[in-house]
Point group: C2
Chain length 234, copies 2
Amino acid sequence: MNNYPQASRILLAIDCIIFGFDGKDIKLLLIKRNFEPEKGKWSLMGGFLNADEDLSDGAARILYNLTGLKNIYVEQLETYGKINRDPAERTVSVVFFALIQIDDHDSEAVKSHNASWITLENRPALIFDHEEMVCKAIEHLKYKAALHPIGFELLPEFFTIPQLQKLYEAIYSIPLDRRNFSRKLLSTGLLIDTGSKNSNSTTKKATLYKLDEVRYKEKFHSFWNFMPDSMKQS
Amino acid sequence: MNNYPQASRILLAIDCIIFGFDGKDIKLLLIKRNFEPEKGKWSLMGGFLNADEDLSDGAARILYNLTGLKNIYVEQLETYGKINRDPAERTVSVVFFALIQIDDHDSEAVKSHNASWITLENRPALIFDHEEMVCKAIEHLKYKAALHPIGFELLPEFFTIPQLQKLYEAIYSIPLDRRNFSRKLLSTGLLIDTGSKNSNSTTKKATLYKLDEVRYKEKFHSFWNFMPDSMKQS
DNA sequence: ATTAATTGTGTCAAAATAACACCATAAACA
DNA sequence: TGTTTATGGTGTTATTTTGACACAATTAAT
């Protein structure tokens, strides 16, 4: 039965990096641990992989427990395997990257896990190698959002172009030209004009768009150029 | 000592997808297993992670054992965790992606592992989920090579522009325009004209270039546009 | 009605791209 | 030795894309 007797079995963890956007800042959902080890310190939401569970199911379970959401945007990012990354016992952690619409989450579940939405600038020190994971994830967000239309995953179903622009400005911490941004986004053919207007604006009301789901799926894997080229000169 | 008593420990494997280029085709280094389980079948080169070994060190060890090479281009790709992917025992596998200069490898080591270089078209059925891993890796090669200068990792130290073009044509299975390709690659500023010419040409000898290592490192993470835009319209 | 803030759209010059044609070089061979 | 053949190297041009920029329209508050 045991074909691999000499190989060592290792604890396998899953950690989730969860991004949201509140209309102004990109935020991370972090938990203040009320359990040992490292109780009282901040960390990513995580857990151990169950023996009867696929990796992606494990990630979905952990994300569901914290946010109450299913079918959210999830990617597997990278697996961290330094020997002493967890001082208690050797643990290899598979990191997942999730984008959610910040208003959709179950705030009761978040509260019960002692979790908070925290802006990237204000994020506290994190346990283990979680800071490294977060840095990689931020880089990944910047990279991927420049080439693929993942930004929509952070916005509500109906959104305006100025909202979309504020999102990209938050991701890259740069101002963008309204006119060029609008031209570029509209030219992707991904936006459907719903005909209605934003109601909660104090001045001119902006057009509400929604994502063209069919084209989104068709074209997700083709590259784009959402950012000005100047962003890309390392 | 044991802080996580109820969590299950799992076998952790490493599998390596090794690409090479022989001047004409992209090839994979695959092994015909002369050991159990699945003896006689083809698979990726792999092994188990040692208890005292970082993930990246494990990958480097496995790659060194097979090719005799160190300091080759390696990326961690993805971790595969389906429950029954290995029928003998649950095993989670971290896949690494390596690009090597095909003439540099230690052919004795390759022979002793019963390994062969096989073109993508001629690749045999593979054990477990290795075919899925290979498909993902081919996609990753296409994706990454269009945006970052990783193609050089598959070429010898000195190379000509026609060689480089044949490499890209092999990766994407499309013909490219010589003039546009040359202009685009030269405009990156990554190529240093060595002044000498290719000797093993039957007709006009091509200029030998080498990579500008300094600029390569500086600019590796900025995006490029190595492929014509037509390639990118999904 | 005027002001202030924000949205939507047009113009234009510069740069990048794709399609295309010509000349140069070197080996093979008559 | 000069012609042929295969390949390498570079220039031109029209089209498209980009980035920088200016002006008009809408809405609420005053």
